[in-house]
């Protein structure tokens, strides 16, 4: 065990820090769930890409830095430390890309990854369907082979970023009459194809953060299949693994929130201590953010030694999502009467991010597999308890 950074890692951190401090937008960008915000974030991603910073873990030839997981963690720490913008293309870079790297052909990688790194192509995911949420294997949308194309029909829902994104990846039933996780294929397609209708869905904050997507005889070339026909489930599970696993929520994000919460506490110290639960929650927030960070470095170390991510993915999901709710609920109670104010309200100046963060934190225990599903997975796969 060696819990010190190498000189090289320290140098890497220094590089990232100086560039970010010089280049991070001084004003926070508008939400990427608005049209102008999406454009602004896309520009920012392009700026990052010039440095290979948009996808540091990718090989250089694909637009990355060939960074290892520790460098990735360092990058994330610096990124959150300066409060840089949220990553508008994370569906692509953090969820799809690892899968593409593992299952994509050389042509497919060359075709999609570089444009993803620069966010010339931004990506949305198409997992859920009205009848298939937590129960993903209930997917009914079809992709039927017809000559060199697949013809897509059906409907997807809860597709984040889909309102403004360029491309979609998702699971479709390619074997007619197949059931559950058999006969599914992993398909990639541009969202401007004829026959595709995107219906925005307004979120709690009123913005169209996700969308419903309707497919009406959409023709997609067979070359857009990732892996072989019928291999979709296995590939998607890998993606879901990444999603619940290391990449989706880097610890730095929660360390930043915990530190901001501490600052909020100090700024309101006298009031806060009328409710002793606040001080306790602020301290717990630091401890849990720290624990999540340590656990992630441990996982990274194991992966570096060739291990695979197992049920940690599920324990991670539960831990960070509940921590995120705790921290934002605590901030809400510190803010009191100011907590309800929308970002545009004059009196919300300086604290507007907390309400947005609170609303978003409520999605944590729900998306990417509800925490109830995660607990089932832990109980059955990790603890070996009998299925119902």
């Amino acid at each position: 065990m060696d819990l010190q950074y190498t000189q090289e890692q320290a140098r890497f951190r220094q590089e990232i820090r100086s560039w970010l401090e010089a280049n991070v937008p001084t004003e926070p960008l508008p939400s990427f769930d608005t049209e102008e915000g999406f454009a602004a974030h896309r520009q920012w991603e392009a700026r990052l890409a010039e440095q290979g910073y948009s996808a540091v873990t990718w090989p250089k030839e694909l637009g990355g830095l060939g960074a290892d997981l520790f460098q990735w963690l360092i990058f994330e720490e610096e990124y959150w430390r300066v409060g840089a913008p949220l990553r508008v293309n994370q569906n692509g870079i953090f969820l799809l890309a690892p899968t593409l790297m593992e299952y994509g052909s050389a042509e497919q990688k060359a075709r999609w990854l570089p444009r993803m790194a620069t966010s010339e192509d931004t990506w949305a995911q198409g997992w859920s369907e009205p009848g298939a949420g937590s129960d993903m294997a209930a997917i009914r949308s079809t992709a039927v082979r017809d000559g060199d194309d697949y013809v897509i029909n059906g409907q997807k829902i809860w597709s984040t970023r889909a309102v403004y994104a360029d491309w979609l990846f998702g699971l479709f039933r390619s074997e007619p009459g197949s059931s559950r996780h058999h006969g599914l294929s992993f398909v990639l397609m541009p969202l401007d194809l004829p026959g595709i209708t995107v219906r925005p869905i307004r979120q709690l904050n009123g913005l169209p953060g996700f969308a419903e997507i309707f497919f009406d005889d959409v023709r997609v070339p067979a070359a857009n299949l990732l892996g072989g026909e019928g291999e979709g489930w296995r590939i998607a599970m890998a993606t879901a693994g990444f999603e619940r696993g290391l990449m989706l929520r880097s610890p730095a994000r929660f360390q930043k929130t915990a530190a901001d919460l501490m600052a909020l506490y100090h700024a309101n110290r006298a009031r806060c201590d009328q409710d002793p639960a606040i001080r306790d929650a602020v301290m717990k927030s630091w401890m849990d953010a720290e624990a999540y960070t340590l656990a992630t470095y441990r996982t990274a170390s194991r992966l570096a030694k060739g291990a695979k991510i197992g049920a940690e993915a599920s324990t991670n999901k539960i831990f960070w999502s509940e921590l995120d709710v705790l921290m934002h609920e605590t901030a809400m109670s510190i803010l009191g009467a100011r907590a309800e104010l929308m970002p545009q309200a004059p009196e919300a100046a300086g604290v507007a991010q907390w309400l947005d963060g609170f609303l978003f934190s409520l999605a944590g225990p729900i998306y990417a597999g509800t925490n109830e599903i995660q607990r089932n997975i832990i109980a059955e796969r990790m603890l070996g308890l009998p299925r119902a």
């Binding site: 709690l204 009467a337 929308m342 919300a348």
Partner: protein
């Protein structure tokens, strides 16, 4: 000793419920949200014709002279149906302040009578609320100043609108200068009236939070009973059942605490502050848990604007800090229970 409501109180509550089920359906509330004032003239006429605006106005002024115990049941319905704060602020809190003024006070009769006729919107400014609800659309703003009561019209003050996550709320930052012309009532009487107003607001909000908790629970039950996953209704999974059962337990035990606070307010009790703040905390705990659990059993649908749940969650979040936030109310309970020699054990409740 009798911890139940009279048949008359229950029947009146039921009548108001029937009225609101029809007149305050979620679709309508959504419409009001989108309007600039956030209010509906038509709704207001109906509410007035139901006599809801003159419930606590003394009979000599043409009202029904109802008390806090009558109100508390109605306010649970007001919360359940997500009625904007204007009604309770004006008809319950505002009227309470006006009715408390000494007879002959220039404002008393005039504004009470206007309330009866439904020709008065009241807003109230108090240091517990950094922003004033409805100040921009009120006919009269009752203003706190060093425990004096002042009054002004929107034209006489400087207003700046602040948007709330609860779009039924119209919050204004307010600047004004107290003067002889604005003075309604001096400190001596004002002090007691304002103290009572804070506790009346506490009962009002606690009761509404109870109603909101029940509404969010009901929405969670309905959704989880019809929504299917893995071939079964979501509500048949034990985890979902226990989420919702926990909410039911919280509501069950918050309710008598709120009713006791209303009783203490109506009959006077030296522990009133602690009882009211306890009610606020218990009802808020139920409502916040209901929001967390109901959105969880709703899944992604609960995170949308389409699902009615969002309107009730947002009301609960906003109300929790209205007329004193959790910090304030915990502080008031702490003052009472940690006081040296506080009487806390068995046989001390009533």
């Amino acid at each position: 000793m009798d911890f139940t409501f009279s048949d008359q109180q229950v029947q009146f509550r039921d009548a108001v419920r029937r009225f609101l089920v029809v007149e305050a359906a979620p679709e309508l509330l959504r419409e009001y949200w989108e309007t600039e004032s956030g209010r509906s003239e038509e709704m207001r006429r109906k509410v007035t014709s139901q006599g809801l605006t003159s419930l606590s106005i003394p009979e000599e002024f043409g009202g029904m002279g109802l008390g806090d115990l009558d109100w508390v049941l109605l306010l649970q319905e007001v919360g359940y149906h997500g009625i904007p704060d204007s009604l309770s602020d004006a008809a319950y809190l505002g009227v309470g302040l006006l009715a408390g003024l000494p007879d002959g006070n220039a404002y008393k009769a005039r504004w009470l009578e206007r309330m009866v006729e439904g020709r008065a919107r009241l807003a109230i400014s108090h240091p517990l609320n950094p922003l004033v609800h409805d100040a921009g659309i009120a006919d009269l703003i009752l203003l706190w100043h060093e425990d004096e009561i002042h009054a002004a019209t929107p034209e006489q003050v400087e207003l700046c609108l602040n948007a709330s996550i609860d779009q039924s709320r119209r919050l204004y930052k307010l600047a004004w200068t107290p003067s002889e012309d604005t003075l309604v009532c001096g400190r001596e009487q004002g002090q007691a009236l304002w103290a009572e107003a804070v506790n009346r607001a506490g009962v009002s909000i606690a009761a509404q939070l109870l109603g909101l908790a029940q509404r969010m629970l009901d929405l969670g039950i309905d959704y989880s009973a019809q929504r299917k996953q893995f071939g079964k209704p979501v509500g048949s999974f034990q985890a979902v059942k226990h989420h919702l059962a926990d909410v039911a337990v919280k509501i069950e035990f918050a309710t008598p605490v709120v009713h006791r606070a209303a009783y203490a307010l109506e009959h006077g009790d030296h522990r009133l502050d602690a009882f009211v703040s306890h009610a606020r905390l218990a009802a808020a705990e139920a409502a916040l848990l209901a929001a967390r659990k109901s959105i969880q059993v709703h899944g992604a649908m609960g995170y949308t604007w389409e699902a009615d749940l969002q309107m009730f969650m947002k009301r609960a979040w906003a109300l929790e800090s209205f007329w004193g936030d959790r910090i304030f109310h915990k502080g008031r309970v702490a003052e009472a229970v940690f006081a040296p020699g506080a009487q806390l054990g068995p046989a001390q409740t009533f």
